[in-house]
Amino acid sequence: MNAQEAISTGYGGAAKLNYLTNGTTLKSWLLTKDHKRIAIMYLVTVSAFFLMGGLYAATIRLELLTPASDLVESGTYNKVFTQHGILMIFFFLIPSIPAILGNFLIPIMIGAKDLALPRVNLISLYIYWLGGGLTLFALMQGGVDTGWTFYAPYSTTFSNSFVMLVGLGIFINGFSSILTGLNFIVTIHTMRAPGMTWFRLPLFVWAHYAVSLVMVLGTPVVAITILLLAIERVGHVGIFDPTIGGDPILFQHLFWFYSHPAVYIMILPGMGVISELISNFSRKKIFGYEFIAFSSIAIAVFGFLVWGHHMFVSGQSIYAGMVFSFLTMVVAVPSAIKMFNWTATMYKGSISYDTPMLYAIGFMGLFLIGGLTGLFLGAIGLTVHLTDTYFVVAHFHYVMVGGQVIAYLGGIHYWWPKMTGKMYSEFWGKISAMLVFVGFNLTFFPQFILGYQGMPRRYASYPEEFQVLNIFSTAGASVLGIGLLMPAVYLMHSLFFGKAAGDNPYMHPGLEWRTSSPPPTENFEVMPVVTWEAYEFGEESGMDLEAAKQREAVTA
């Protein structure tokens, strides 16, 4: 056979084609059914939205350097923080890990050729582009100033901004989320390789199963809420209008019914990544596998019972407030179980401080602070003092950025060699991880103090006594920004100049490391039959420390 045939037939010789080289036309990418290509396209779009949301964040922090509202006026500032929230939450955080790492890794981790419904996956991507495009168009027309929470009656009656268009963009985007979740649920149920039982699944997969349940059950409710908002806005009559007997708090109930579980969409995948990172970089079987698996499901379920803790001072009844407050304390328990299990995993493990592990350790500290401050906010007495202050802002940035974004970065770095076949520079990786950690704390820790001292959120101007801490916060934001931009540089650099990664540069036992980097289109040369447990680092598996030391891991 000639060279061309040798390349295209896989059996009888090493497959030369991987998913990146198997088809190089634009059409083969845009019409692909390959989950890995879809993941890469999500990566590009999600990164673009992250950048845009970050630019809005920079504007916020620059404005808050001075007490007066001098960089932007209040009306514009309302649009800036609204759009920062919308882009970051709906178009960056919610898709991030599931659409990129989940899409790429779940079929490989369970030993399947693709997701169960590849065309649904592609439609999901198109819908994401459509929703994102519409929202961006609306932002360029003038944007929205209602806050990402779109509270009635401002959004229905009084706001003069492009509520309908942005609402439509978010509505459409919601279906992308629903279809991704649906796909994962089906795939995890039906596409597991022979021998891959539920309790041999990596915890990354369990976390994504839990997240998918939340996506499927919760997102439709925000969709109908936005629809009702739009009808009320167009028809000038509706159920959220108190002048005709409607109730604006009903909007909040329906909105937060989704948006609280949404924050679990914005942390559970991160926790899945962290389970992988902690266990693998401690070269130790994860402690309490079943507990972590079931706690993911518990968070998904209990997360639907606590939405009223966003509404303590809205006019909701005190009794309902008490119930939601109690349940908020309960929902913290599964997360705490995970933290204990991760810590116990690291104990007496052989920890290697590669970049992904630095991110994972950073997650542990930052999520701890974020989670605990969430409990402060859930306590119905204290929350009255802290509502709508910077304490809340600091809390959710600690869990969303310190949690999910850090986990996202850790995951991107960890699986970068698998996705691209290249090793990035560990040196620059470690530097940027530390810059992110330091910059993040410098940005958001002062905001806790600002919050309990009384600085309100969503204000462009503030009393002068708050300026010093705001300056610290903005300084930290600069460091954080640099730390977040650096990976873009060195990861891109690695694509062209990085060392080739082998199949398993870290010597980790996961199924994704038993295929080539980058993987072939159908993921495995020979579909695997699983006979080992998850996270097996024993001698029989060849993944113990001695074996790892003897084989030279390729690092840059």
Binding site: S8, T9, G10, Y11, G12, A15, L17, N22, G23, S28, A112, K113, D114, L115, A116, L117, P118, V120, I178, L182, N183, I185, V186, T187, H189, T190, M191, V216, L217, G218, T219, P220, V221, A223, I224, T225, L227, L228, I231, G235, H236, V237, G238, I239, I244, G245, G246, D247, L250, H253, L254, F257, P520, T521, E522, E525, V526
Partner: protein, 300 residues
């Protein structure tokens, strides 16, 4: 360009997608996928049912009044039409499994006819609302010019003396607004002291003698909430029905081409699931919207 891992010819059943090992896995996946899609559809409608629950428990008399002005005949007919279409749909799946193409085609056509009938009846109902000023959005109702001299007689009668069982009167409506003049049920509830606290708060004003009396405009606003929910819920349902008809068109074309038999009938089954779901939503909408206040007017 897919990579082949074997030189041996591998038999692929027609309709088997490349990511699956066998038809059983494909059928199972498609079934779970469709069911979870229906789960999210249930939650989608669920938000509307929540809103309905909140406002019905707050303003039961306004909801009863509005509901009584819906024509239960058309609503009931639509319910029966949908049930028949569910039967024909279930039988379509039955015949698809048997590979009987002619019966499949006949039954899909019947299902579509019944579906279209449902939409036709909805059009009749909506037109009726348009004619009587019952669309909650101002300007979307039929504009009826006021006749000279006729304005006063309509305004003088207090709203609680309107005969609840009388056929609707055409009121002058120059701007196409929402018109509601009948608060007799609220008066009855006020007299029998069965108004809820929210209702007392929202329907009543004090007259010159400081007695609580029903304010026609405030009552009308609550009835308007009922009609808002009526139109949104039935409208969203009708939209799903239209999508269902589109699905049926595609199914009809494929079934006509002999595509479905005992080995491959999942698309028919999945379309059936969607159709039955739309039927189930209507099974709940009918009593909740059309029948909630009948016992007030028919007595014991």
């Amino acid at each position: 360009m897919s990579s082949h891992y074997s030189d041996k010819f591998v038999y692929h059943e027609p309709g088997l997608q490349h990511q699956f090992d066998d038809m059983g896995q494909q059928e199972e996946s498609v079934s779970i996928g469709m069911w979870f899609f229906l789960v999210q559809e249930i939650m989608f409608f669920g938000g509307l049912f929540t809103a309905y629950l909140v406002f019905r428990s707050k303003y039961p008399m306004a909801f009863a009044a509005g509901s009584n002005h819906l024509d239960a005949f058309w609503g009931g007919l639509n319910t029966l039409v949908l049930i028949v279409s569910s039967l024909t749909m279930a039988l379509t799946v039955y015949y698809a499994q048997k590979g009987n193409r002619n019966m499949q085609v006949i039954l899909i056509v019947l299902t579509m006819i019944f579906g279209a009938t449902f939409l036709g009846v909805k059009a009749i109902e909506y037109t009726d609302k348009y004619n009587h000023g019952l669309i909650p959005v101002a300007g979307l109702n039929k504009k009826v010019k006021a006749e000279a001299g006729a304005e006063h007689s309509a305004a003088e009668k207090p709203c609680w003396e309107v005969d609840h069982n009388a056929p609707p009167v055409e009121h002058p409506n120059p701007h196409g607004e929402f018109i509601w003049t009948d608060c007799s049920l609220a008066k009855m509830a006020l007299d029998e002291n069965i108004l809820t606290a929210s209702e007392k708060n929202q329907y009543l004003v004090r007259d010159e003698n400081n007695k609580p009396v029903i304010d026609a405009n405030k009552f009308r606003d609550k009835v308007r909430i009922f009609f808002f929910l009526y139109f949104v819920m039935t409208g969203l349902h009708a939209l799903h029905m239209i999508v269902g008809l589109g699905l049926m068109t595609w199914l009809l074309w494929s079934a006509f081409k002999y595509k479905y038999n005992g080995d491959y009938y999942m698309p028919v089954e999945m379309s059936g699931l969607y159709w039955h779901f739309v039927d189930i939503v209507w099974i709940f909408l009918f009593p909740l919207l059309y029948l909630l206040g009948r016992h007030f007017i028919h007595g014991g």
